[in-house]
Amino acid sequence: MIGAAHKQSGFLAALAHRLSGIALAVFLPIHFIALATALDGADALDRFLIVTADPLVKLSELVIVLALATHMMLGLRVLAIEFLDFRERTLTALSTCIILVLGVGLLFLLNAG
């Protein structure tokens, strides 16, 4: 599936968009379940969140946040091409930069928090 014609920006953008979307679709039910433990009081949520202090879970959190940023940015690219008649070339570079900036920022902020 990955041939010479695929080492180009449009395909990579679409692939990242698709993979981040799948990640979010898998993550969201878990996220909703976690939040709903607040029904049993803040203690229950805190207890649940202690679980999430585990480094592997923290990493998953970071991945999900980046997945959201990626999916959103690349989704905006699609909307711009389809509805604003945006002529792409620079936009992929632009959105890649924004993702990177967001990613770096998030990395920093999440570690600080």
């Binding site: 979307g21 969201l28 939040l35 607040a38 949520l45 959201l68 940023a69 959103m72």
Partner: protein, 109 residues
């Protein structure tokens, strides 16, 4: 994906772009300022605006995610037809149910 599904997908995408940005900023703020779960729940408790915002968010997600997943499954797996559509409607129902339950949870907690 028919024309109407396409419209639903793109409209929900635009809504989620706005709502997602707000949510992302909020999460960053929470992470940065070291709020505990109790603190956050204190702010969401009884907050009608937040309730409305996240309800809209959940509905948009319940529309957007299954349609997107359906396209991926049709193109990358042999799964297609009525069976896939039923599964995606079920997924939408799951997201809606779990999502609204979570919104209610942080509202009443």
């Amino acid at each position: 994906m028919s024309a109407l599904l396409f419209v639903a997908q793109r409209v929900s995408a635009a809504l989620l772009a706005a709502a997602g940005a707000v949510h992302l900023v909020t999460i960053l703020y929470v992470a940065r300022s070291g709020l505990t779960a109790g603190d956050v729940l204190g702010r969401t408790h009884g907050n009608a605006w937040l309730f409305a915002f996240y309800t809209l968010f959940v509905i948009a997600v319940a529309i957007h995610a299954p349609i997107g997943l359906r396209t991926v499954l049709r193109e990358w797996t042999p799964w297609r037809g009525i069976a896939l559509d039923v599964a995606m409607v079920a997924f939408a129902a799951l997201l809606l149910a779990l999502g609204l339950r979570a919104v209610v949870a942080v509202f009443v907690a």
